[in-house]
């Protein structure tokens, strides 16, 4: 049986001076970190994390690739991606034809990435940033025009890109994104 239960006992209180030694341990740890805090804070507006392209951020549509099959609307768990009817005349035949275009509503989108994974022609792709906020609700219910181009990203204008790498000694270390050398 690979997993087996192991019964353990709590470390017993080591006599009268346990309290004193415990206090001394806690204070030395506290002072050790007071002297050298090993900070991992992201100074947000001046720096921002440049996420790797796989990150599930805002979603953008490429109209040329889209074959209007509405499978992305069918799989959306939050009914955020829905289809709207758009009367378009076919350039070759000139006839008026009603097509279904996907339209996303960020008031409900949960960024699960199902629509990107299910699209048969990879017409939807995710943009690797997420921190955009709105002051009135209407701006979040996107029409087709805003859905086709990536949303403008205010943080990129204000800060320098930074990346976090996992490190043995400090846990996370901030590293400048482009050159990758030590921050």
């Amino acid at each position: 049986m690979p997993a087996r239960p192991v019964v353990k006992r709590l470390p017993a209180r080591r006599g009268l001076f346990a309290g004193f030694k415990g206090n001394v341990d806690a204070i030395t740890i506290g002072l050790k970190y007071l002297v050298d805090p090993k900070r991992i804070t992201l100074i947000y507006p001046n720096e921002y994390i440049k996420l790797d392209p796989g990150y599930r951020g805002f979603i953008v549509l490429e109209p040329k690739k889209c074959i209007n099959c509405s499978s992305c609307a069918r799989i959306c768990p939050a009914a955020a991606m829905r289809m709207i009817r758009r009367m378009e005349e076919d350039p070759k035949t000139g006839k008026k034809k009603m097509k279904l275009w996907p339209v996303i509503n960020y008031q409900r989108c949960i960024f699960c990435g199902y629509c990107v994974d299910v699209c048969p022609t990879e017409a939807l792709y995710t943009v690797p940033y997420h921190d955009i906020v709105y002051e009135n609700m209407a701006e979040m219910d996107w029409g087709l025009e805003t859905f086709v181009k990536p949303p403008e990203y205010p943080t990129a204008k204000e800060g320098i890109p930074v990346k976090y790498i996992v490190d043995e000694e400090k846990g996370l270390v901030k590293v400048r994104a482009e050159e990758g050398e030590e921050e």
């Binding site: 049986m1 690979p2 997993a3 087996r4 239960p5 192991v6 019964v7 353990k8 006992r9 709590l10 470390p11 209180r13 346990a18 309290g19 415990g22 206090n23 341990d25 806690a26 740890i29 506290g30 991992i40 996420l51 790797d52 796989g54 990150y55 599930r56 099959c69 499978s71 069918r74 799989i75 768990p77 939050a78 949960i110 960024f111 699960c112 990435g113 199902y114 994974d117 299910v118 048969p120 022609t121 990879e122 995710t126 976090y164 790498i165 996992v166 490190d167 043995e168 000694e169 400090k170 846990g171 996370l172």
Partner: protein, 412 residues
């Protein structure tokens, strides 16, 4: 009104002979309400006599988001992100047993690579959820450094999960038949570094939190649940294992890769808040061992699509191209409204707070006929009513934090 009260002095024969005594009415009733730092998203109505709690009644339901009713209206795969919102700190542990139940109805077995990927993410989430539990526990007993340190180190595990799946908390990673993404190239090296960092860091946690005389005095001997009462109340996870019950869902019914990885299940006997903290502390060490073994296995074995052939054999060439390029498994459009054969299945998995159980019944349509979820915190809520009476008012946050009670998961 007569109230079921039993505290320290109850009889040995468990609960059949519960002592009921009339409560005089002039007790001081305090609402530890939804807007209160001592209780999460719920209200605990306590009647106190001076500083002693005489009766505690949890008033739950403030985060009841009707998961079971919505699940009956949604297709099978749409329920994965829905059930994940119960406890988004360990998203993988909460949804993996729903997926196992679906696979039992479909009668398919995910490929071994998918099993190891799921176990890897489940263990990363378990450590993140335990550290979240320590953080909130630190806030409840006023130790803000514990909150900050455990959340700082939780970011290491969240960073690993973000590299693996592309999202910080809500990965909705398991899908019927496998997992959605394979590990990126530099992942094994980063994971090993994180494991070595945690092994050194846990020593400092013990010094400033578990062995700190103030915290130790606050936790020892508080909220004691004897072994017989724990079995009678049906408590789960670290709360049961701290009272001597040798039970873990990964031990009782091993799922995914848990029957191939080597790990221990820590069990303590004292049953008080300190034992519960130590159970979680030891479980983090065991999860680090599992992560190391899973990463070694994944590195040794070739990279092939971590999904069952039923969804991968017939997929168009674009699927294979995207998997080679990004390691991402695309879903077949038929998965949106896939029909399951009629059948009933039950599956359980061990989340950081305890064991979650899904009962799934399908009648052949594309939406489930009935999904019944019993989450760990729902089964731990009974601790407030039967264990809190008899202790002091300042022990209520200690008991609340030690059983790691999370209302969104308890109210479903």
């Amino acid at each position: 009104m007569s109230v079921w009260v039993y505290g320290e002095q109850k009889s040995e024969l468990g609960l059949e002979g519960t002592i009921t005594r009339k409560i005089e009415e002039d007790l001081y009733e305090v609402f530890i309400g939804p807007q209160h730092p001592g209780s999460g998203h719920m209200r605990i109505i306590i009647r106190i006599d001076g500083d002693i709690i005489v009766e505690a009644d949890p008033d739950m339901g403030y985060v009841h988001r009707t998961m079971e009713k919505l699940a009956e209206g949604r297709e099978w795969i749409k329920n994965v992100p829905l059930f994940e919102r119960m406890a988004i700190q360990d998203a993988c542990n909460v949804t993996v047993s729903y997926i196992i139940a679906l696979e039992r109805i479909l009668d398919i077995e995910p490929p071994p690579r998918a099993k190891y990927l799921r176990t890897l993410l489940c263990e990363i989430n378990r450590i993140a959820a335990h550290l979240y539990g320590f953080g909130i526990f630190g806030v409840f007993i006023g130790h803000s450094t514990m909150y900050m340190w455990s959340f700082a180190d939780r970011e290491v595990m969240v960073e690993l999960a973000e590299r693996l799946t592309g999202a910080r908390l809500t990965h909705s990673y398991p899908i019927p038949g496998g997992a959605r993404k394979d590990i990126p190239q530099d992942f094994p090296q980063a994971a090993r570094k994180a494991v070595r960092y945690f092994r050194r860091r846990l020593e400092e946690y013990r010094k400033i939190f578990l062995d700190n005389p103030v915290t130790r005095k606050r936790l020892e001997g508080v909220g004691i649940i004897p072994k017989k009462i724990a079995a009678e109340l049906g408590v789960v996870g670290p709360v049961a294992r701290a009272s001597g019950i040798k039970y873990d869902a990964r031990l009782a019914e091993p799922y995914d890769a848990y029957d191939e990885v080597e790990f221990e299940v820590p069990v303590f006997e004292e049953g008080d808040a300190l034992a519960r903290a130590w159970v979680k502390f030891e479980e983090i060490k065991q999860s680090l061992r599992i992560i190391e073994q899973a990463v070694d296995w994944l590195e040794r074995h070739p990279r092939e699509a971590p999904i069952h052939d039923r969804f991968w054999a017939k997929s168009p060439p674009l699927w294979k191209k995207v998997f080679e390029a990004e390691g991402r498994v695309k879903l077949l459009p038929l998965m949106a409204n896939m029909k399951l054969p009629p059948g009933r299945a039950m599956a359980r998995s061990e989340t950081a707070r305890g064991e979650i159980i899904y009962y799934v019944e399908s009648d052949g349509k594309s939406t489930p006929y009935r999904v019944r979820i019993v989450s760990p915190s729902a089964r731990n809520a009974i601790v407030f009513k039967y264990i809190a009476p008899g202790y002091k008012v300042m022990d209520l946050p200690t008991i609340y934090g030690s059983i790691d009670y999370f209302p969104p998961e308890a109210d479903r």
